[in-house]
């Protein structure tokens, strides 16, 4: 197998006395679809905060495309190609939908984008995501599902090679879930590796090539979706003894 | 040595008073995350109300302070209502909320100047002017009485917050709105009550302030630094921490004032504040 684009080794993170993550090893390959699951409080969001740079891990290394990014700020990692969407959407409320996309295009994707093409590329992303008609609407008044799409659109506009999607489907209807799933598949077809954190099992099972399971800050299992479904440790973690 | 020990004792007394000034801010800023920069202005308003009633009716200043608390409570609750409707509900707290209280502080100070001018005002009471001696340390009553009352108020508020249902709800509301709602308490009403309580403390703090020394409208400004320095140094969300910080500030300020000159005193509080923010923003006993 080729060299992974993301390699996390021995990652630990504590908050005061509370151990959020302990000795996490993780690998993601180029263009891979990885599902990250685990009960509430297992450390999934903390892990992606460390990967994206929102938090700094206490021990361990994070290597992205051969580069040690462990101590890099989040914006530097974004420029290198690590993007994330937030569980609770965080649009730039004073801007229109289109203007929201200018920011990642002009900053994170700066080295990969021509200055003159920013507007066009923003519109292309909106087309892909299905928000083209809303381009000039204010981002503050969007519906829930459109806000989630805008989150993903912004992440996509950063032209990442790794996207972490944090519960992009929580609270959505079944049809809306499929909508978002389609967008993630389309993203992946363009060569973007995706780490999907989700509680909606059918989405995880459909989407992931490989699944990693966390519980209480440790990795307790990894494998194909089918293997995970039948894993006794995973069952125990979710259902208790 | 004489000077030094007098300064230490004076500093502790002053620190105890500062704690009473800061306890209201510890609630609004430390617990509710509302940056009420107008808090010291309310204290000055309390001082002026005390002066007016003391001059007209001759009542004891501490008594006046206590009598004023329900009025200040209602005013505080009302102001919170406006703040909530205009800012918290729409999520605009950061920029507009700050400017709101800044404007409020300004209005209070300027109204006082316009109506009463910039002359220093003082109150009269039987014990002001007397001193009690402990060996080579002399404590003026005008410091001792406020210190004792301040300590009572501060400890009282702390006990209230940690022992009663409403008090604990106030401590909880910043951390977990949902749990509070599930318990049947309305977060907005709790916060309104807390804000009212905080402003009520300024009534007493104001009455104590004018016992300690003469007051004029711009005196409040130095207290902005003191109050925020105390709350930040003590650690957000920690009343005991706030008390310790108040005592530290009182002592340091008095030492600086005694040995370097009183014109340096304002810089102490603000300097402490800047240092704390730069080096250890969570303060001594802070929560995050």
């Amino acid at each position: 197998m080729s060299e992974p684009i993301l390699r996390v080794t021995g990652l630990s993170k504590r908050f005061g006395g509370f151990v959020a993550l302990e000795g996490i090893d993780l690998e993601v390959h180029a263009g891979e679809r990885l599902g990250l699951i685990g009960p509430n409080g297992s450390g999934k969001t903390t892990l992606i905060n460390c990967i994206s740079g929102a938090l700094y891990n206490d021990t361990g290394r994070i290597v992205f495309e051969g580069r040690d990014v462990t101590r890099l700020t989040a914006h530097r990692r974004a420029r290198l190609g690590v993007a994330r969407s937030f569980q609770i959407p965080k649009p730039f409320r004073s801007m229109t939908v289109l203007e929201n996309l200018r920011v990642p295009l002009e900053y994170a994707a700066r080295d990969r984008t021509e200055h003159r093409r920013v507007g066009d590329e923003a519109r292309e992303v909106l087309e892909l995501i299905g928000l083209k008609e809303r381009a000039n609407e204010g981002s503050a008044g969007l519906t829930q599902v459109d806000m989630r799409k805008l989150e993903l659109a912004r992440a996509l506009a950063a032209k990442p090679r790794l996207l972490v999607s944090d519960e992009a489907m929580a609270g959505l209807s079944s049809a809306e879930v499929d909508d978002i799933l389609e967008i993630l598949f389309a993203l992946n077809r363009r060569g973007v590796a995706v780490i999907m954190i989700e509680h909606i099992m059918r989405a995880v099972m459909r989407f992931s090539e490989r699944v990693v399971v966390l519980d209480a800050g440790r990795k307790i299992a990894q494998g194909t979706p089918e293997e995970i479904l039948h894993n006794a440790d995973v069952e125990r973690a979710y259902l208790g003894e | 040595m004489d000077l030094f020990s007098n300064a230490i004792v004076a500093g502790i007394l002053l620190g105890a008073f500062y704690a009473a000034v800061a306890v209201g801010l510890a609630i609004t800023f430390g617990q509710l995350d509302i940056v009420n920069i107008a808090h010291p202005a309310f204290v000055i308003a309390g001082s002026y109300c005390t002066w007016i009633i003391n001059t007209r009716l001759g009542l004891d200043p501490v008594l006046i302070g206590v009598l004023l608390t329900p009025i200040f409570f209602v005013v505080g609750a009302g102001i919170y209502r406006i703040y909530y409707a205009a800012f918290e509900r729409t999520g605009q707290e950061s920029l507009s909320g700050l400017a709101f209280f800044f404007g409020m502080m300004f209005i209070i100070e300027v109204v006082l100047i316009l109506v009463y001018g910039v002359d220093y005002r003082l109150v009269s009471a039987g014990y002001i002017g007397g001193t009690i001696e402990f060996g080579y340390v002399g404590i003026p009553f005008r410091m001792l009485v406020p210190c004792v009352v301040a300590a009572a108020v501060t400890v009282g508020v702390w006990l209230y917050l940690s022992r009663t249902f409403t008090g604990r709800a106030i401590l909880a509301v910043a951390q977990d709105r949902l749990a509070l709602q599930l318990m049947g308490a309305d977060p907005v009403r709790i916060k309104q009550f807390a804000f009212g309580l905080a402003i009520a403390t300024t009534a007493i703090a104001g009455s104590l302030l004018i016992i300690i020394g003469p007051v004029e409208p711009s005196v409040g400004r130095v207290y902005i630094g003191r109050a925020f320095a105390i709350v930040v140094l003590g650690g957000m969300g920690s009343i005991p921490g706030m008390i310790v910080a108040a005592l530290i500030l009182g002592v340091v300020e008095t030492l600086v004032g005694t040995f370097m000159g009183p014109s340096w005193a304002p810089a102490v509080a603000f300097g402490v504040l800047l240092l704390t923010l730069a080096i250890r923003p969570t303060g001594l006993f802070g929560r995050q």
Binding site: F92, Y107, A158 | I224, L273, L277
Partner: protein
């Protein structure tokens, strides 16, 4: 250059030329005094808005930057006798560095702490100046009005034109920032700093740039002040009125757009001059406080927001 830029430059030029024209036509010195005050307020409002409105970090210590600009002027004039342009440059440099320094210490914290820290900074500096006898300490210092005023009829006319030029320059910088890539980065920081950082915006660096520009502009506003008033003391230089105006004017005019602080300053500044002459100057001070509270409660987007 885009057409909008050409129109804007033309307007700036027209305004400046009218200002020059006024010095030929108008003989009543009072009006130049009044306009100087309004222009000074405009620069302060525009400056404040760069960090406050564009980037979302509230500065309560505007009076500190202004006063340090003024006192830098005094020190450079007293020590080296430098001409006015150099004093302005000095003020801009010192206050720009101040903005950078204070920013570096506190912009990594939440906006709330930054706001309080700026107030603290202003008071710490006021205390230092109060204790510094070289610049007169608490008693203040008198300055003689310089002899030279180029081809103008009087010194105040020259100051007016100078201030006009400076104000227009600051407005142009503000407008450029508002619509540039840098400005969009600042707006992203204001709207959601965490999301901005994850979208690749170097938030700390942009915040520092914003604070430095703001500081420098406020220093520019303060540098000619000693020559305008001829008597400077800490009480007037560090006046809370300056601080409140620098916040109220942008908030009333509208903080998201470069035009907001300009409109706010012109409207409020002119109103204040009229009230000072006809009623009293203390009333001004009360009114601006009330206007600030009323506007942010009822019209948080300011006049520009209402118009949109």
């Amino acid at each position: 250059m885009k057409r909008a830029d050409i129109v804007f430059s033309a307007i700036l030029a027209a305004v400046f030329l009218s200002g020059l024209g006024l010095t030929e036509v108008m003989k009543n010195e009072y009006y130049f005094n009044a306009m100087y005050v309004v222009l000074q307020a405009t620069i302060m409002a525009v400056a404040w808005n760069i960090l406050g409105g564009f980037t979302g970090y509230v500065n309560f210590g505007s009076a500190g930057f202004f006063a340090i600009g003024a006192y830098t002027s005094i020190v450079l004039d007293k020590a080296f006798g430098l001409p006015l342009p150099f004093l302005i440059l000095g003020g801009a440099t010192v206050c720009g560095a101040l903005g950078l320094g204070v920013g570096y210490l506190t912009l990594r914290l939440k906006g709330v702490y930054f706001a309080i820290a700026t107030l603290a900074m202003a008071i710490v500096f006021e205390t230092f100046i109060n204790n510094w006898s070289y610049v007169g300490g608490a008693r203040g210092v008198y300055l003689l009005t310089p002899e030279k005023h180029l081809w103008f009829d009087s010194y105040i006319q020259m100051l007016f034109v100078l201030m006009l030029a400076l104000a227009l320059a600051c407005i142009a910088v503000s407008r450029f920032l508002n619509s540039s890539r840098l400005g969009r980065g600042l707006a992203a920081i204001r709207d959601d700093e965490v999301a901005a950082e994850c979208a690749g915006v170097p938030t700390l660096r942009l915040k520092l740039i914003s604070a430095t520009v703001m500081g420098a502009m406020m220093g520019i506003a303060g540098a000619p002040y000693p020559f305008f008033v001829t008597f400077v003391d800490p009480l007037s230089a560090f006046s809370l009125f300056v601080a409140v105006n620098s916040i109220a004017m942008p908030m009333i005019g509208g903080t998201a757009h470069w035009l907001g602080p300009v409109i706010g300053a012109l409207l409020v500044g002119t109103a204040q001059e009229i009230i000072t002459v006809n009623v009293s100057s203390e009333l001004n001070v009360l009114l601006v406080g009330i206007m600030l509270v009323v506007f942010i409660t009822l019209a948080p987007q300011g006049i520009v927001g209402l118009a949109q």
